[in-house]
Chain length 339, copies 2
Amino acid sequence: MAVRMKDIAQELGVSVVTVSKVLRNHSDIGEETRQRVLKLMKDLNYQPNFAARALVTGRTYTVGLVVPDLVHPFFAEVAKGLSSSLRKRGYSLILASSEEDPELEAQEIGRLLARRLDAIVIASTQGTAESFRRIEEQKTPYVLVDRRFAGLRANFVGVDDEAVGELATEHLVSVGCRRVAHIRGPEVSTALGRLEGYRRALGRHHLGPLPNYVPAATAGDEDSEARGRAAMRELLQLDPRPDGVFCYNDPTAMGAMNTILGAGLRIPEDIAVIGCGNVHYDPSLRVPLSSIDQQSAAIGERAAKLALSLIESKSGRPRSVILEPKLVARESTNPARRA
Amino acid sequence: MAVRMKDIAQELGVSVVTVSKVLRNHSDIGEETRQRVLKLMKDLNYQPNFAARALVTGRTYTVGLVVPDLVHPFFAEVAKGLSSSLRKRGYSLILASSEEDPELEAQEIGRLLARRLDAIVIASTQGTAESFRRIEEQKTPYVLVDRRFAGLRANFVGVDDEAVGELATEHLVSVGCRRVAHIRGPEVSTALGRLEGYRRALGRHHLGPLPNYVPAATAGDEDSEARGRAAMRELLQLDPRPDGVFCYNDPTAMGAMNTILGAGLRIPEDIAVIGCGNVHYDPSLRVPLSSIDQQSAAIGERAAKLALSLIESKSGRPRSVILEPKLVARESTNPARRA
DNA sequence: TTGAAAGCGGTACCAA
DNA sequence: TTGGTACCGCTTTCAA
């Protein structure tokens, strides 16, 4: 059906080897032969067979990406950045979604491993580092993004989460908040880092710790927005009530905002709110949301770069690329409307 | 490195063929042999080599998806639905983004074709049906989602766009709007269908057509939100000013809403707004946005189903799966606040 | 500069 | 029920 090297070789009266060499522009081919082969390849629209090539070279020119949830804008942006960087280098991206389920994630990783991808990028929803041991056994290079694991010396690309927490908390304090609450995320490195940053910033200003100002994380991974609503309801019971809230991420902040407004309170006059992620619809929310930019696209690009370098040279110890978060202030923390 | 059939065969003193047959549970294998082989496969954690298998069977167990923009929630949801349906059937998903660029889209399709995927799903940003001819030449089954093409008899999964336009417009009329404008999308089937539905509904109520109530589409594919802002500014110049706006999609509606509110007008009191897409953050927007649900997840699932059926039996004429849109009313068209 | 032969890891066919 | 052999399309090695 499809055009093969053999067809080109026969047509031209040369050998398959010659054609193959032209394709990968080997030096030892006569200029005239090379031109004839190239021309016929064009004319016949020859496409090399990836499977055949992969079988002999062991390289698939494919990178896998496992994310907890594609619809979450953060992961969508990472995927976009990754895909566009890989494309430029001739690689394709296989996408797998773990749907926030560690079991499923392990399965998907197994499947990608079976496909002998050249590298795998993972935003893990895993509790332990177990499944990564399996990847290491297979010697497939992998890069963790966003979330990392204690005791696992792996390649990593992400933002400095403690800096996120500090930046957000500092900002709330700087616009006049004195009772800053935090709606934390689940037991993963990102959430823990942001919590730590929050505590540190609060301590620096002698404004904490405050009892009950960090509602406990829920076990079941309910969706972030629902989580934000529920946690905010708890916070509104407190006396004195918080006058600022730093939310684990933007969906959580959306939930918290809806609860605050639903209770008849004003943002930022009564309670200032800041999230994390700086998703593109933040400016259009009921109150335009201040947020910490996580550099999601950059994370994707850097992850691609790192993955490619691992593919080229399987050497060296694990590297970490830590990006600096950036504050993006909007109405939800506008100091002019506070005071 | 990795365990091969040969290793298993040697270890057990059987032939490679026997092992292969066990793997695909062929009937003609002795029960005892089968068990021994299976056990060793487990113990050695044998993973078949996809490339080798693909080379001989011609099947890659991989489906491609080409979208204009992964970050757009609609496409993210389609991708999610598609990926989860495919996974259940043992297929993987290769993702390519065209970044709204027809040229890039054609390139990406070419690349997927070169990889000999079993099927390709495309949300096209193409102006013409040209690149699909190429796919047809290669006999790779493909499914169009969301957008379709005049004169191209292809498999398609999407929503009934004229129904979208009618539903949205009818709703605006039903909440009391009498001067209904439409911010249209680019020259693609979805936008044209919605426009047609809008006109038809308006005609039915003898409320249109209204001169200048449908600002011309822009050529350059600026981002939807900017487009919404710009078009809305035009509409606000009109006298009489519209009292309802149906926007091509939700990002456009976000832009339009921001312009309306920025001009000191109220939604829905002065102008009611409805979008299309029913993206998950609609309820949290500055004014919770009424929208037409496009069934994005269902589109992904149905596309997967259709693609798989095409793979199984390459026969039959193209099929179209047309889903019915659903109205989701929120504050931006709340009749109680109009009147 | 060119090409013959071997082999990558499987599957299909047919004979034993 | 089992396995020998050929072959999928390409790359690698080495000799011509």
